[in-house]
């Protein structure tokens, strides 16, 4: 099998695309854990076990961070379209 026919193989393309996506998602999980650990765990005392409160905080932290990114993205797109 030649390299160019390999590169055009739809199964391989799907596999590579899936791996790239997984890689991006994992990078984002690292980033979110880093931020949310500081907000919800490190600052709140005990490290002996995650409390229900810390768990909820971590879940909310992920959701609100993504809300925050969406809010900023929409606002920035608007700003660029208005040419400011």
């Amino acid at each position: 099998m030649s390299l160019s026919s390999l590169a055009n193989d739809p199964e391989l393309q799907k596999f590579v695309a899936a791996k790239e996506l997984e890689n991006q998602l994992t990078t984002q999980v690292h980033h979110l854990t880093n931020i949310c650990f500081d907000k919800c765990v490190e600052s709140s005392g005990s490290l002996s076990d995650l409390s229900a409160k810390q768990t909820t905080c971590l879940q909310n932290c992920v959701e609100r961070f993504l809300d925050c990114t969406m809010l900023i993205t929409n606002r920035t797109v608007q700003r660029i379209q208005q040419g400011r």
Binding site: F65, T69, R75
Partner: protein, 71 residues
């Protein structure tokens, strides 16, 4: 095009920095929704960061111009 890719990469990096900065500045305790005061803070923070980006960008360009004229 290369130009567009650069612009997209640049925009992505700006959005990433904006999210990190404004989330840290505006969300003290993440709740079940963004409160209206949190939303207002995020909007203002991102506007100010963009303003700062423009000022820094101009000041940096001027400095480089000045330095390259000197040589």
């Amino acid at each position: 095009s290369v130009q567009q890719q650069l612009a997209i990469q640049n925009a992505q990096e700006l959005l990433q920095k904006l999210s990190d900065k404004c989330f840290k500045a505006c969300i003290q305790k993440p709740g079940s929704t963004l409160s209206s005061s949190e939303q207002k803070c995020i909007s203002q923070c991102s506007d100010r960061y963009m303003d700062a980006w423009n000022i820094v960008s101009r000041a940096y360009a001027e400095r480089i111009k000045r330095e390259s004229n000197r040589h």
